[in-house]
């Protein structure tokens, strides 16, 4: 018997033609259009991009990286983390320590030590600040610290087969515990006030328009690069195993896959991405304090992903822009309503848009095409 040939689907390309076009347009906007509009177009012009807009968009792009990281672990693997704010803050603290050391003797007390240490009457740098003088070491630690914390936590949690809401609660407790730890003065993280009053990065003044623009461009490029990385991860068989773990973990095990290394890998990658986002965030907003580890922040990351659309990659990025755009607008015009709005948005999305904004757009275009 001859079997007729079956056309097996070819592996999907990293991005489609339109996808690549959109990608390069985004790249050009971030690397060329935004700098030109901000730095060269005169302030009075209608086309001028204000410093406020640069700061706001830069911040939102950091959040979008977190949302992307959340999508990998929640959207694709079905593991809802309510502790991603911790990884974001850890990356931020590593960067913050470096920026504190860059202040040098220009602080209020004209000491080699950061001001808060002088205030606490400390005579030398604690051990965990040892590498904070080196920029290279800082770059390594930005991914290594959140990665290591996530790996150790994940190893114990996933090995014990902790799943679902229990896992979410534990991650929430983890970030809360870390927040309490960082609040304490004797842990050497600046306590309640955290790190602020940064002056320089790599010896260059940090508060200039050019430096802000540079950080903006770096953040945008990182977001785009992470998007490609996430796309590659999810398109590979690796990504399909993650979705399989989400949909039927027992079937995955009985197919010969051990879910533990898969969960651990994506969990750690996700945490590292958040760490990078935090490190880009801190020099742009000029402060990092334990408030970044508060449970609400972590929950917000999940809201961005849900609003945009889980398991779509582009969705959470869009979601981060929508929610944070609305936030910056509402907290100015009607600050008392912001939290109600956020709550209502989350409920509405869960009830009516299970696939988020992207799911809605897809549905509408499909319906449009059908008619």
């Amino acid at each position: 018997m001859t079997t007729p040939t079956i056309h097996l689907p070819a592996p999907a390309p990293l991005l489609t033609r339109t996808g690549w076009s959109a990608f390069f347009i985004a790249l050009i906007v971030v690397c060329a259009v935004a700098p030109v509009l901000n730095l060269w177009v005169p302030v009075g012009s209608a086309l001028h991009m204000s410093d406020y807009a640069v700061a706001l968009l830069g911040k939102i792009m950091c959040y979008a990286i977190c949302a992307l990281a959340m999508d990998l672990i929640w959207g694709y693997t079905g593991i809802l983390s309510l502790g991603h704010g911790l990884f974001f803050a850890l990356g931020g603290y590593v960067m913050g320590m470096y920026l504190m050391r860059q202040i040098g003797r220009d602080g209020n007390y004209q000491s080699d030590l950061p001001d808060f240490m002088v205030f606490l009457d400390w005579k030398e740098l604690p051990w965990h600040w040892a590498l904070s003088d080196s920029f290279i070491a800082t770059l390594v630690l930005i991914v290594a610290v959140p990665g290591l914390v996530a790996f150790v936590f994940g190893w114990f949690a996933f090995r014990s087969r902790i799943k679902g809401v229990y896992f979410s609660i534990i991650t929430q407790a983890m970030t809360y515990a870390a927040m309490l730890l960082f609040f304490r003065n004797e842990t050497g993280f600046g306590g309640n006030n955290g790190f602020t009053d940064f002056k320089r990065i790599l010896g260059t003044p940090i508060a200039t328009q050019n430096m802000r623009m540079l950080l903006f461009v770096l953040t945008g490029c990182t977001l785009l690069a992470f998007f490609l990385l996430a796309r590659w991860l999810t398109l590979a068989k690796f990504g399909r195993v993650l979705q399989a773990v989400r949909d039927a973990e027992s079937r995955v095990m009985f197919s010969g896959y051990s879910p533990l290394p898969y969960k651990l890998t994506i969990w750690t990658i996700s945490a590292m991405m958040c760490g990078v986002a935090g490190a880009l965030y801190v020099p742009q907003v000029g402060i990092i304090n334990p408030g970044e580890m508060s449970p609400a922040n972590s929950i917000e990351i999940a809201v961005w992903a849900a609003v945009g659309g889980r398991a779509t990659l582009i969705g959470p990025v869009v979601g981060a822009f929508i929610v944070n755009g609305a936030k910056s607008w509402l907290t100015v015009t009607a600050p008392e309503f912001w939290l109600y709005f956020l709550g209502a948005l989350f409920i509405a999305v869960t009830l009516f848009l299970p696939n988020g904004v992207v799911g809605l757009v897809k549905k509408l275009t499909k319906r449009g095409a059908a008619q």
């Binding site: 590979a236 010969g256 898969y262």
Partner: protein, 290 residues
């Protein structure tokens, strides 16, 4: 004799027998007394691919499995019947590593102690399992479901850089034909009919190329035609693979079975051909005599 000496002797025998290895499932070796256990290889020279002896499991005092002893020959198609709560699914849980028995022995071939392995390891050793409720990856396509089940390296790194080679594509196409889903390669598994999901799950088992298949109610929810085709498929698998089929559909069992085991209250009540067990008075009492 120290353990070291014994192992040294075992290695010497392995060297001598090396040329004969790998010819058949048992490495071309005949039954004997001084053979060497090769890790990961199923030794069926004693004529048994699965061997359970005096297995006990209880959940909160309820004895789900109570002194179960059962064995299956290589290439055999064994049907398991029994009333609800007889321990059929629990038995499969034990074999596949999902449930740890309180006591007893479970061997795959003569040398592999299944109680020392976890679920993914047991699956890699060559035991495939179909669940009672069809369990496929609903969000993925039929093709992707089969591709995931494919027998290959299943580590993280190899999954990241995995590409289907031509032999694997051929195998996939062959299985797609076997399970009659060749037209629906790109369909999302969640949109398949119940019977098609059952077939897809069976197809996923075939992709794993297991030596022993455990099938929990494989024809539940299938049309008569689909049931007939499933029976046909199982009969072609028999011989090359060993199958253990749990079913309630007596006409299906009559079509495929040579030997039937009746489970009741966690142990074997009767064993024999379908006619023999149907004639058994104890069986009639607990199961067939409604």
């Amino acid at each position: 004799m120290t353990p070291d000496l014994m192992e040294e002797g075992a290695r010497r025998i392995a060297r001598v027998q090396a040329p004969a290895m790998g010819q058949t499932e048992s490495g071309g070796r005949a039954a004997g007394f001084a053979r060497v256990a090769t890790p990961g290889e199923v030794d069926v020279t004693h004529g048994r691919i699965l061997y359970l002896e005096d297995v006990h499991v209880s959940f909160d005092g309820f004895k789900a499995i109570n002194g179960l002893s059962l064995d299956i020959a290589p290439g055999e198609l064994r049907c398991i019947i029994g009333p609800n709560g007889a321990g059929k699914t629990t038995m499969m849980d034990i074999i596949t590593g999902k449930t740890r028995p309180d006591s007893g022995t479970v061997y795959f071939g003569s040398t592999i102690d299944l109680l020392r392995h976890n679920e993914p390891q047991i699956a890699s050793l060559g035991i495939g399992r179909k669940f009672q409720k069809p369990t496929v990856f609903e969000q993925l396509s039929v093709f992707e479901n089969l591709e995931l089940a494919l027998k290959t390296h299943k580590g993280v790194k190899s999954s990241m850089f995995f590409r289907l080679d031509s032999a694997q594509s051929d195998r996939l196409a062959e299985v797609l034909h076997t399970i009659h889903l060749a037209d629906g390669v790109a369909r999302q598994a969640g949109n398949l009919s119940h019977g098609q999901k059952q077939w897809l799950e069976i197809g996923m088992l075939l992709m794993q190329d297991p030596k022993l298949l455990l099938l929990d109610e494989p024809v539940a929810g299938m049309t008569d035609e689909e049931t007939a085709r499933t029976a046909e498929l199982f009969l072609t698998l028999k011989g090359k693979h060993s199958l253990m089929v749990v079913e309630h559909d007596m006409s299906f069992i009559r079509t495929i079975s040579e030997k039937v085991t009746v489970l009741c209250d966690g142990s074997v009540l009767a064993e024999g051909t379908l006619d023999q067990v149907q004639a058994d008075e104890r069986v009639i009492e607990v199961y067939l005599g409604r």
